[in-house]
């Protein structure tokens, strides 16, 4: 089957659509997923096609959306619950962590919770502090479920299909800024990407840039700039924060001995801190320079575009960090 060039939005839509066609137990629920086509249009046309049995518009009830999806999953369905944006997932933290992630363990395997929570994530559209969180690391802190953070259309499709077919709960984050980004995607209905496998997005010998979701774009852009100066960056896309696969990160670091981690999240207790901690712990003798983190600034995100952008990471900040570690 040939590849098609489509946006990440369309890739996610295709993944959902294929899984719903494949398995009647798969259904979507959430605020505005049906008649409105989904706030980010990922479920466009689903309501007309699948009807209200399998495309369920819910009240503004995040606790109940997440919690009822857990119940439906325990009972044998495969819910894909959309929390609209991950900001609203704050209201469902207990349902996601205590009732989805902990469930299988607390009942010693007697229950499985094959639910997928979809949530648009990230900032950069003047959504202001309460609507601009990128809190993936705080969710990844907890065991018992998986956390997906795709960086492009191809990965998004393969990862979402794998998440839907997996027996474990998955928090599937979708970077809002990446929805329109085109990429070529296989239309093989059984195209799956393995859960918890990171991926090289660029090969190079001089420095390892670790990123995920939107960070990968900043890394790639930076790599382009660095190349002009003769610096070859290797980019590892984590793809998943849980399970966190550092095999490629370590492999690459052993070669480059230098690393920069790029993420959209806040600067403390974030993904970069975990990776830096693990690299220095496991590959201490390979370290030629301190590992640098590029992230958002430690501020609630403001509305005004000019200062909002100052708070965000970008390719120039990545380039600067790379030069630091290459000093």
């Amino acid at each position: 089957m040939a590849d098609k060039k489509i946006s990440m939005r369309e890739a996610l839509r295709a993944a959902l659509h294929e899984e719903m066609v494949r398995d009647d137990r798969v259904f979507v629920m959430g605020e505005e997923v049906g008649r409105w086509d989904g706030t980010h249009k990922v479920t466009r046309g689903f309501f007309e096609e699948f009807g209200e049995r399998r495309v369920i518009d819910t009240p503004i009830s995040e606790m109940a959306i997440a919690g009822s999806a857990v119940g439906a999953a325990m009972a044998g369905l495969r819910p894909v619950a959309e929390l609209m944006t991950i900001n609203f997932a704050f209201l469902a933290l207990d349902a996601i962590v205590n009732h989805a992630a902990m469930q299988h363990y607390m009942f010693n395997g007697k229950m499985t919770v094959p639910v997928v929570f979809r949530a648009a994530s990230g900032w950069g559209n003047q959504a202001t502090a309460s609507h601009s969180h990128t809190p993936e690391p705080i969710f990844a802190h907890f065991p018992g479920f998986y956390v997906a953070c795709p960086s492009n259309a191809y990965d998004a499709k393969g990862m979402l299909k794998a998440a839907i077919r997996d027996e474990n709960p998955v928090l599937f984050t979708e970077s809002i800024a990446l929805y329109p980004k085109p990429g070529s995607v296989p239309d093989d209905p059984d195209f799956l990407l393995p859960i918890g496998k990171s991926d090289y997005k660029r090969r190079g010998n001089d420095v390892t840039i670790v990123a995920y979701a939107r960070g990968v774009d900043w890394a790639l852009e930076a790599a382009g700039m660095l190349e002009k100066e003769g610096i070859q960056a290797e980019i590892v896309d984590l793809r998943w924060l849980r399970p966190l696969d550092l095999d490629l990160v370590f492999e690459s670091f052993k070669k480059t001995n230098r690393c920069v981690i790029v993420e959209e999240s806040l600067p403390h207790f974030n993904v970069g801190s975990e990776i830096a901690a693990q690299i220095q712990e496991h590959l201490f003798d390979y370290m030629d320079a301190p590992i640098k983190r590029v992230s958002a600034l430690d501020v609630p995100l403001p509305f005004a575009k000019e200062i909002e952008l100052m708070a965000l990471p970008d390719a120039h900040k990545v380039v600067a960090a790379v030069k630091e570690v290459l000093k």
Binding site: G67, S68, L77, N98, H99, Y105, F107
Partner: protein, 321 residues
């Protein structure tokens, strides 16, 4: 009585006595240090609600409750030994010693637990009922709710969603007047909890005497039939907890008079009296039942006692499928 023959009533008596003895035994074992942990919530006093309700539904119907779950687990046919072993934190416990007193379940018996976060199980109940409707099955979900839990956001969202989705579910509030030490009037602007059905346009069931197993049975049977045909119903059972909230409860020590009053309505005594009145020669049968229960509970304790504790491998197992 209403559609219940002698055997069925005897079965209910047996179940109520079993729960009471099981709980009394748990309490002793906790004070002996055999059962450990921060939490142990007993069902003594509330037996009529659980027994009446579960007798009124089908075995194939789904049941879910909060952390005060020992009685419901036993009623759903979970092995008393395995339940007691869970209290002990043993490998043979229903949850392998990982869930403890608050987290008993057996999906094969359509008993979904057992939840420690107040209100957390309510949307789960809605979700299970959604699956029933989605699959065009003809079961219902029976979800117990504490009076205190009705003031939590989970209650509001879960009940409203169940009505909007028109799923087959009986919401049964066990109003034992207290959430921990807080009396209902201090926690709920509307102390007549069943009235909260109006906020969801939900069928408002009766508010029944929760110390009368027959009253509960009849109310739940009607509600179950309604739910099977039309959707959610909210019921309230007025009951009382004979023990503290958990093993330490300052308020408990303060409510001795209230306790005395409620003990006068002990649901077990009431059923016993009813049986003796209806079947004057039933005495020996009842005593036999009581002895049988003694043995069941003693065997359960022995089983739990002799069971092995979990291992390091158990610690690391079943985090993921």
């Amino acid at each position: 009585m209403e559609g219940l023959d002698k055997d069925q009533m005897l079965k209910m008596y047996h179940e109520m006595v079993l729960i009471r003895r099981f709980e009394e035994t748990c309490k002793e074992l906790y004070h002996q240090g055999k059962i450990g942990g921060a939490y142990l919530h007993l069902y003594s006093g509330q037996e009529a609600t659980g027994v009446g309700a579960l007798t009124a539904i089908r075995e194939t119907d789904h049941v879910i409750t909060a952390y005060r779950d020992h009685g419901i687990a036993l009623l759903r046919g979970l092995d008393p030994g395995a339940v007691m072993a869970e209290m002990f934190g043993k490998r043979t416990g229903v949850s392998g010693g990982k869930g403890g007193s608050m987290h008993l379940a057996d999906p094969t018996k359509r008993f979904w637990g057992g939840y420690g976060i107040v209100g957390g199980h309510l949307p789960i109940a809605t979700g299970i009922a959604l699956k029933v409707k989605y699959m065009h099955e003809d079961d219902i979900v029976l979800s117990f709710i504490g009076d205190g839990a009705t003031n939590n956001g989970y209650f509001h969202e879960a009940l409203n969603l169940s009505e909007v989705l028109e799923v087959p579910i009986v919401w049964l509030i066990e109003n034992n007047l207290y959430g921990m030490g807080t009396r209902i009037e201090l926690a709920s602007g509307q102390p007549e909890l069943v009235k909260r059905a109006i906020a969801y346009g939900m069928k408002e069931g009766p508010r029944v005497d929760g110390m009368d197993v027959m009253a509960v049975y009849n109310a739940v049977q009607e509600a179950a039939e309604y739910a099977r045909k039309h959707g959610p119903v909210l019921l309230e059972s007025l009951t009382y907890r004979f023990d503290g909230h958990g093993m330490s409860d300052k308020m408990y020590d303060k409510r001795t008079d209230e306790l005395k009053e409620w003990h006068a309505h002990d649901p077990i005594t009431r059923l016993r009296d009813l049986l003796c009145k209806q079947y004057p020669d039933i005495g020996p049968t009842l005593e036999a039942t009581e002895q049988a229960v003694e043995k069941t509970v003693t065997d359960a304790v022995t089983f739990a006692d002799e069971s092995a504790i979990p291992t390091y491998d158990d610690l690391l197992s079943n985090i993921y499928v």
